[in-house]
Structures are given as structure tokens and as C-alpha cells.
Subunit: 302 residues, 4 copies
């Protein structure tokens, strides 16, 4: 049994079910969200609600953050009433947001200077997976931080994969994965456009590949989404996908790795944003391919 | 039991195990290969050997072709001693090569004019899968052709997926699949380069994704191949991959579908050919990304 | 004074003014065009009209071809009533169309086998330049052919630039030039989109660069065309531009030169054709950039 | 005659000849450079030397900045002993560096709050052009600032082009221009590779286009540089070109304009940096194309 006091910060579509799972496992969790209403729904599950980031944690306790971007993570950590100082000696910050490796390295150093631990532990999985405790977690940081976080991460996901000591490493893995997912989406979008123009049913194509050489969830689920253009409601918003590809490009530039496929994906996302599709699911980058090909299914649909 | 006389034309790394499986199932198979020595190894399995394409088949019988490219398929079908006329009334040509949809449409029309049937039935799977009868087969053509081919295709593969009447449709599906596989390879190559430059083990990255969000053979096997740069011996030669992407671009141009990702893959392949890597496995397009990033693992390896 | 009998084949928007210039210089010219009406307008200028390609030339005389593509050039040269055999011993074929180097090499060999000369002499310049004798001519082929063609080419253009003996070389130069022009168009299109979104007048931007660092006709004229979106009537049809970029890609693939910029231009053209813009000027590839950026000027214009 | 006291900050390869021209025109100029030795060479031309940015200017006077990047401009303006406060009421800051439009807008607002004027006036031209007073200047900002700067800019360049009130506009024009120059370089690099592989002399190709359809300095000078691979000494360092394309991409992302050609150029630059070519001239991006094509001229040269 985990006796530690946990503060959970960030209750979006991912954070809320994750916090709920901790509560349902019998843990004492205080939650914080910038928009307080999102926090209140968790009080039914037994959460205490804090009005500030620092209010959600205790000295020497554990803070879990699951926020939309680097700026939000920095705000709750370093901003007024942030967790950095309050966490103090003996504390642990488990950072699960998709952020840049630079931010992780910076926060790890600042926490160390304050006597607390920092673990980078971003996740793969949509909100349904978060609710079902089926997240895939990749982690990196100090061994001490990993040991202390283990029981908590075991509750949240179906597997923890370790990427060493560098607190930025897990973030690079997470960004690589989102890049690969979006690359798979683009490849399916182009293939489906080619098929449609040649009289082949998009759904039949997706189904075939999902049953055979690409029999994994990414191709099965996104393949169907693309065939049906089921872009609303968004499982993962296109605008957030842009944020991630932007981070991929930043990391690639810093590391001097030319990634032309990442550039293509960025162009798809940027065109989608110019066309005001930021709130659609990120699979909606497909519409650019479809419009460029003047697909008949587009005319029919609109 | 299939009583029909079968001529099998094309005994490369795919055709040979396929013909062997038919022989081992008790079928009467006459084989033909341009280089006769490849045919002779099959005589141990009970194959009769023909010196010409036409010599491998009987009037009204079945011809199965598994050749390297459109020109070879046209040569055995339409060339001197080709199968077109000999097959004549009541014959069936099962075309399993990766060729253009245009060639399939043309051959289907010519066979029809000669009173015989044509089925387009390209396959997914490497030589090991062919040997293990684990090929995935996609087919398109007339219902009559499909009915007659079914028992034979059931021997060769683990599943037949139908894409309708248009004899070119199955070829478009096959080309789309090879495009998607190569796109997955490129995405893994870029991700592994990014990871390596950030101090992450390439094999660890590949293993993580193969166990989690990309838990399908394409990512598992190719991910490992890429991490280890195990490009020899080639499972599928890069030069053949170029042929396929060239066909993808031809179909895309005819259908007016801009496919920037296919263009990127073509550029990778073309650079690889300029660097004399045509006999390596097609995963070796990764070397372009690695060289562009000046990866340390490249210097170490070379 | 040129005493030779000249047959001029191909009276499109380029060929017609070129033939007229030869007639106005006092030369004896017989013209041929597949659509005879185009030929008839030249009879006012003193042209004789032929009903077949061969009918336009005399044995040992000169044939000038200015046709839309490789197939048309092959048809008038090698087809029924073609010029190849009739030209015979001592003849000269000046090929001025934009075609592939392979076609030039093939025709040069066939003419040589028939005892006649072949000169590849494609041109740069729009119809107005053709009318004003301001074409830029690049040539390649045998010295003998060049010597004999010189006086004629001097009438048609403002300068002849030599690229050696290989009959395909001049075609590669011509294709390179059209590639570079279209690349300049794409760069202006992207720059103008960026400028417009930042509140800068497109025409002002084009004017500035045309007066300063890019003070040459390509940037001056096309820059203005792009700023005004004056895509009709077409100076050079987008569909013909596609033909040229296709040839560039064929030559690049044969030579194993990855040309990602050529691929980008091809994608722009293909999208434009899918959107039925083949009859607009080739500068109209700009509309893809404008649509992708959701430029306000697009909404205003449509 | 300009009676005002001028402080000139930034004496790199561009700033030094510009400051010298002002001195030679009889103006009173105090110079500042972070590395003082660069400033000292100008004392022979009559310059006074300051030890701090603020030391180079007088209250209500004129500051001209010509620095390597946004950070340097911000440092001399906003940093310790920066010019912002000292310039005070009635001062004018003429900002001639290649920086982001955002930085210009920010500085313009800060100067306005201090009662001084700000003019964005970036330039086109290499060091030789700066020395010869042949720079092309594009400006944007308030009318008052332009009026006061006019006599000074007239000394430095051969023409002033106005882009309105927005202080960021001139920066967007400057960035667009550098993007277009690099795009022209890439198009020449690909064309020359294609030509070389087809047996055509690179220099002959460059010369032809420079004399005909691309008869402007960019194509003439860079075309020759590329044909000869004369990348040292650098006229404009590749690493600085990367800085500019990075700014182009930032502006494009903010404005939501997909610029695939800018992405291609960025990939070329990034690969070049990974290969440690940052100190070569930016035309050296050509080496990536040459290596990818395995050009014989590369082997010969290295």
C-alpha cells in the first residue's frame, strides 16, 4: 500500500481518468487544475481539491503532473505557488506530460537543487486507455526516483519501459512515438487516396492491412477512422499534434538530424490549422491529401 | 483434389517455395524459369521442367506467374512461345507478381479475347512466409477466375482478400502496401536517428515500440533490422523496392494523387542506388538518414 | 542566303511564329500541322502546305520540328509518311521541341543510319519571344549538323549556346531550365504567401525583388503574374509544364540524381491537374500554396 | 550635411564597411563592437571607440545596429549598458540586422515607450556591396523615423524600398529574400547534378543560364560558385543561413503558411551542419545533392 500523499496536477482528458484510477486504488490524492470545475468532478471519487499547485502537495511528498505543454508544466512547477519549493527535501515529481527533453533536464536540475527527485514518465494511450489502466509508460531519470514511482506507475499503466538516467530521454521516446504515429497516418492517407481514385473501397483497404501486415492498434483504429473520416469528437486534437511535431523539430534541429518526414507532417498540420481544423482529431491531416487529389468522396461529404 | 495441370513460371526467391508447396500438395506442376538451373532444383520435388513458357502449360490449363517485373510478365505471356495463345479457350492465368494495374488490365483483356481467364493475385510476405504457406493474398478479377483459383491460392497463403472485378485493383492494393511498409521503415529510420543522437539505444527504442503501440511484424522485424543495420543478406532487395515505388508513382500520376511521402521514399531509394546499395535489403534506405545526421554509429561501423 | 528547301512541322503557339520568321526572311518553307487549319494561316505569309510530314520536305533537305511532346515528334519522324526515310541521304533534321534526351539519341541514330544529320536545338522563350526572334537556343549534335543549321537558327533566336556532341545534352539543358523556372515560381509563391499573411503587398514584394537581387525577366514577369494571379490566358500551359517535369524526373531517375525540389514541383503540378487547372498558365501552381495557407486574397478572389 | 552624432554597433563583415562609409562621408561616428579589436581598425578612419553600447551614443542621437542575430540585438539594446534608455527622448534606432519581425515589433514598442523612434532597415548585399555603397535597403516603421534616417541610408545603399508602417514588415521582406536566394541555390545545385551526370559541364550550364533567362547576379555569381565549389572563404556563412531559414520557419508557423521549399532548405542546412560545414559559404548546401548523387566530381575533388 502506498501511504504517501499525492498531488495530481492537470485534469484534462488524460489526467482526470489517471487521477481517478489512483483514487480508486485507495490512494490519498489532492488534485489541482487551473480551471477548478475540472477538479470538482473528482471530489465524488474522493479527491481533495487544491486552489494552487503548491496546495496540492505536501513537503517531501509526491507530485504528478499531466499538462498540455511545456509552458503549463513550467507554470505549475516554477510559477507563483508552484510545486518546486514546497516539494522540498525528499519530494518526488513524476512528470507525465508530453514536453521537450530540455524542459525535463531543466526541471530535474532545479528539483535536485531543492533536494527532491524528478522522474520523466510520459505515456502512450488515448483517454480510454488511461481509464482502463492500459497506458504504456516510458521513463527516464534517477534510479531512486524510479524505485519510488514504481508502485504508482504500475497502477496507471500496463507496462513501464526504462530509458536510462537522462531525464530527457523518455521525452525523446515519447516524441518519436507521436512522430511515428502521425507518419503512419500520413502513409494511410496517401494509400487510401490512391486506392479510392482507383475504385477501391477505403474501408476495405484499411481492413485488409489491419488484419494482415499491419495488425496493430495504430493501423487498425486509425485506418478505420481515416476511411470513415470520423474526425469528431477528437481523440487527440490536431492542435496538440502540432505542438508535438514542433517539439520533434526542435529536438531534431538541436541534435542536427534532418527529418524530412517530420517536415512533411508539420506542413500537413500547418495547412490543417490554417483551415481551422485544430479541434479535429489529428487524423484529419488526411483532408489535405484528399483535397489535393480532389477525391470524389470529399465532394460527396461536403 | 485439384486435377488440373499447372504451369508455374518464375522461380525466384518467392516463386520457388510457392511452386514447391503446390508440388508437395500433390499437384502436377510443370515449371519454367528463364535461367533453367533454378528450375532444375525443383525436379527433386517432382516438377517437370519446360524450356519455354508455353511448354509449361496445357491448353485450357492453369498458368501461375511470379516474376520480377512487368517486362518479364509481358515476355512470358506475350513474347515468343508465350502462354497467351497456348492457354487458349478455358485457360486461367493467375498473375501473382507485383506489377502495374495497367499491365493486369491489358493482359486480362488479351486473355479474354483468347477465351481464357485472368486473375490478379499479388501477395504479401517474404520468402520464409512463402515457404510456410503464410502469404497474404489480395485478388481481383472475374468471379469465375476466383472460383477456379481458390483451392490453389488456399494452398499458397493464409488468407485471400478480395478487391472486386477490376483486374488492376489487387495490384493497387499490393503497391499501396509496399508503399506503407517503406514509409514505416523511413519513419523508424528517422526516429532511431533522433534517438541515437540523444543518447538512446536504437534497439531499445525499436523493442519498445514493437511491444507496445506498433506490435505488428513490420515494426518488430524491420525495427530490429534497422537497429542492427542487418542489411545483408537482403530479404527484399532495395532495387526491387525502387521498382515498386516507381510503379506507385506511375499509378499516382495517372490517378492525379499527389503523394509527397512516396516522393520522399523514391528519393531515399534513388540516393541508395547511386551509392550502389541496390543489392542490400530495402531497409538500407536508413543509411541515407544516418549519413545525413553524421551518426556516430555510422563512423563506428564503417 | 539560304537556298535549301525547309519543311517546318508543328505550328503551335511557338512553331507558327518561328515558321513565319523564316518565311519573312525569304526562305522557301513548306509547313505541316496535324490540324491543317493551323497551317493554312501561314499560307498568307507564303508558306506551302503539306498534307503529310513527308510531304513537307525534300530528299536531302531540311526538316525543322517543333512539337508538343516525344510522341508527336516520333509520330512525324517515324510514323506513316514520316520524315525519316524521305529525308534520306544528306538531309538535316533540326529538332527544337522539348523532349527527352533519350528520344534525341534514338532519332539521331536512326537518321545517321539513313544518311542524314540530326541536331537537337530546343529553345527558351515564350511565343512573344519567338515572334520577336528573341529565342535562346541551346544545341547539341555533330559539328556538321551545327554548321548547316547555323544560318537558320540565327534567324530564329538571339543566341546559340553549344553543349557538345551528345544529341541528348541540349535536351537536358532545356529540361534543367524549365525545372529552374518552375522552382523560381514556387519560391516566389511561398514568399508571397508569407508576405501577404504578414500584411505586405504581394505586388510590392515582387517589384522589390525584380528591381534588386532578382533583376531578370523570370522573376520580374512571373513575380508580377503571381502577385496578380493573372493565370489566363496561359503563356505556357500548366499541363505542358507537367510533361516537362515528368521528363526531368525520368532523366533524374535514369541518372540516379535525387531531386527533392523537382519532386515538390511535380506534386504541385499534380495537385493542380487534379483541380482541373491544366489549361491555366503554369504559374498557377501558386494556388496550391495559397489554398494551403487559406490566404485572404483567395477568398476575395473566388 | 548630417550633423547628428551616430553610434554604430556591430562591426562584422557587413557593419565594418558600412560604418567606414559613414565616416568617409564626414559623419561623426562612435563605434562599438563586443570584440574591441574589430572596432579599433576603424579608428584609422576617424571613428571614436566606445566600450559599451550606451557609450557609443548620445541622448537624442542616432544608433545604427548591424548584428548577427536577435539575441545580439536584444543584448545591445536591452542589456546592461544597452542603448534603449540612453537614447531616450528624440533618439532614433536604425536596426539593419537580419532578425525576426517579432523582435522588431518588440523593440519598436519599447523605444516608443522611451520617446525614441525605431526603424527596421535590413539590407541585401554581400560585404563587397556594403563597401561599394551598393546595398539594397528595405525599410518599415514610422514616417518620422524614415524621414530622419533617409540621408544616412542614402549613403549606405543604392536604393531604399519602403514596406509601410509595421516595423516587422521589412524583416519579413529580408527573410523572404534570403529564402528565395537559397531556393535558387538549391535549384541550381540539383540542375548542375543532373547535368553533370549527363556529361554536361557544370560551368557551361551555369554560364548559359546566367547569360539568358537568369541574367541577374544571384544566378550569375552563385551559379559560378556552385560549378567551381568555391565555398571558402565564405561570403555568407552557412551557419548564418541556417539562422535565417529558422526565422523563416518561425514566421511561417506563426502565420500558418506551409512552406515545403523552406523545409527542404532547412534539411539541406541541417545536414550540412551535421557534417561540420557551418563555416563554409551557404552555397555549400550543394554538397548534399552531390553526395546523394555520388557525383564523380566529388570523388575527384576529395
Amino acid at each position: 500500500m502506498i501511504a504517501e500523499k499525492i498531488g495530481f496536477l492537470g485534469l484534462g482528458s488524460m489526467g482526470a481518468p489517471m487521477a481517478r484510477n489512483l483514487l480508486n486504488s485507495g490512494l490519498a490524492v489532492t488534485v489541482y487544475n487551473r480551471t477548478r470545475t475540472h477538479a470538482e468532478t473528482l471530489s465524488l471519487d474522493g479527491a481533495e481539491i487544491a486552489d494552487t499547485p503548491a496546495g496540492a502537495i505536501v513537503e517531501g511528498g509526491i507530485a504528478i503532473t499531466m499538462l498540455a505543454h511545456d509552458a503549463a508544466l513550467e507554470a505549475v512547477t516554477l510559477g507563483p505557488d508552484g510545486i518546486l519549493e514546497k516539494l522540498g527535501k525528499g519530494g518526488l515529481h513524476i512528470s507525465m506530460s508530453t514536453v521537450s527533453p530540455e524542459t525535463s533536464k531543466k526541471l530535474a536540475a532545479l528539483h535536485a537543487a531543492n533536494g527532491s527527485l524528478f522522474l520523466s514518465a510520459p505515456v502512450f494511450g488515448r483517454p480510454e486507455a488511461a481509464a482502463a489502466k492500459k497506458l504504456w509508460i516510458c521513463q527516464s531519470g534517477s534510479g531512486e526516483a524510479k524505485q519510488r514511482a514504481e508502485a504508482i506507475l504500475d497502477i496507471l499503466g500496463q507496462g513501464i519501459h526504462d530509458f536510462g538516467d537522462d531525464p530527457g530521454a523518455a521525452n525523446v521516446v515519447k516524441l518519436s512515438g507521436n512522430f511515428m504515429i502521425l507518419a503512419a497516418i500520413e502513409s494511410m492517407a496517401e494509400a487510401q487516396a490512391l486506392a479510392e481514385k482507383n475504385g477501391i473501397d477505403r474501408a476495405a483497404l484499411a481492413s485488409f492491412f489491419g488484419q494482415t501486415i499491419f495488425s496493430c492498434p495504430i493501423y487498425q483504429n486509425y485506418g478505420r477512422t481515416l476511411a470513415e473520416r470520423a474526425y469528431e469528437p477528437a481523440g487527440f486534437k490536431l492542435a496538440l499534434g502540432m505542438k508535438d511535431v514542433r517539439l520533434v523539430r526542435d529536438v531534431a534541429e538541436a541534435a542536427m538530424v534532418a527529418m524530412p518526414l517530420a517536415d512533411l507532417l508539420h506542413a500537413r498540420l500547418l495547412t490543417s490549422l490554417a483551415k481551422k481544423r485544430g479541434n479535429l482529431d489529428w487524423t484529419a491531416i488526411e483532408l489535405v491529401t484528399a483535397e489535393d487529389a480532389a477525391l470524389r468522396s470529399m465532394t460527396a461529404a461536403n
